[in-house]
Assembly symmetry: C2
């Protein structure tokens, strides 16, 4: 408890990952990749878990040891991206106010994720296809919204931490998290359905989010007749 269990002179942890872990990571990635391809090809509902598993040469049972359900494999990359956003948010300097920090964090996240992998899995073009798939697949949309909502709770916690507030007493953290979540979702929608005059890169996404954030005030203002 006091000290770490005696470690060999050459820390085995320095070998980034054991063969076992690396193999697991590989099959997991392969599953996500195969699923992604199949879903985009013949649609989510018309793709069976057996087919995904077969594509990676793995039993169905193994698939369900990696993913709790069929939706999870489809939303895996989204989930990772959201986790990354939260990391970015945690890293923002305390000097920024809440809204500034959120804005900066999401810009940072999109910029980073967009770097180097414009195409290919996890890339921006793949993201666009994924958004459309989610939006047009009721089951996926439902699961995605749930995930998003869970993340908002985490975000609210981070915000409350930054400001030294009790998230149960003060309503602002949860509210800002939820409102920001809505803005991001609507932006994703605009990005995938109508081009909305934005270019297809991460910069286009960032611009869209900024545009929507800028409209928050006007939308909540008393009258819309300018």
């Amino acid at each position: 408890m006091a000290a770490q269990p005696a470690a060999p002179a050459i820390d085995p942890g320095c070998r980034v990952l054991g063969l076992r872990e690396r193999k697991k990571q590989r099959t997991r990635d392969a599953l996500v990749d195969a699923a992604h391809t199949l879903f985009l090809d013949r649609g989510y509902g018309d793709t069976t878990v057996d087919e995904i598993a077969a594509a990676v040469d793995v039993s169905q049972r193994t698939f369900f040891r990696y993913f709790a359900n069929k939706e999870e494999v489809a939303l895996a990359v989204m989930a990772d991206a959201e986790d990354f956003f939260i990391d970015c948010l945690r890293g923002r300097p305390a000097a920024e106010n809440p809204l500034q920090a959120m804005r900066a964090a999401i810009t940072e996240a999109w910029r980073t994720l967009g770097e180097g992998r414009g195409t290919g899995p996890g890339g921006v073009t793949a993201a666009l296809e994924l958004f459309e798939l989610i939006e047009t697949t009721p089951t996926l949309l439902a699961a995605h919204l749930r995930r998003t909502t869970e993340q908002e709770r985490v975000v609210a916690g981070v915000l409350a931490d930054r400001e030294g507030l009790d998230p149960l007493t003060d309503l602002r953290p949860r509210l800002l998290a939820a409102v920001f979540g809505s803005v991001v979702r609507i932006s994703h929608l605009s990005w995938s359905t109508d081009g909305a005059g934005a270019d297809a890169g991460p910069d286009g996404m960032i611009e869209l989010i900024e545009r929507h954030l800028d409209q928050l005030g006007p939308a909540l203002a008393g009258s819309w007749r300018a």
Copy 2:
């Protein structure tokens, strides 16, 4: 095609509903009721569709002719309430600005729904139990969020209509609808989890929503340090 098919002198439509329709309505209500009871008793996941159908003495196949899936029967009353809210919103005078209209509509909806049926199905106590069930059941929460999101699109359309805007060009209708949806959802959460200092009646719910709406400005404000 040009005129309605010749109708008897005494309009048959005046008989509110034929025997057939009444019967259908009764079994539908019975299914919702039985499902509600079973879900609250042994939980959503541990209740099978067969059990619900059996409780109403109907085949499983018939159940699925009334509801597309297991979630739908659980969320039926919520769906009706949301539809009613939209009706209220449509009925608000054009003089009110968008936010005012939304505020007034939801107050009106809760007041009306709360009248007369404090207990019993569709009543306020039942609503509280339902909120908790939804919030603690991942599958239900996902389905509920999806429903809610669909409704937001409708609400945005109504708002755009009121103001004579194109909902594709102007971002404000969708934004306000989404933000309002978030406020309502968070209020529901507060209402069911922590009492949040509100009483259990519809008035308590209304008060909670008002409190959250009042905090929207502060939450979006630059600094939270007052």
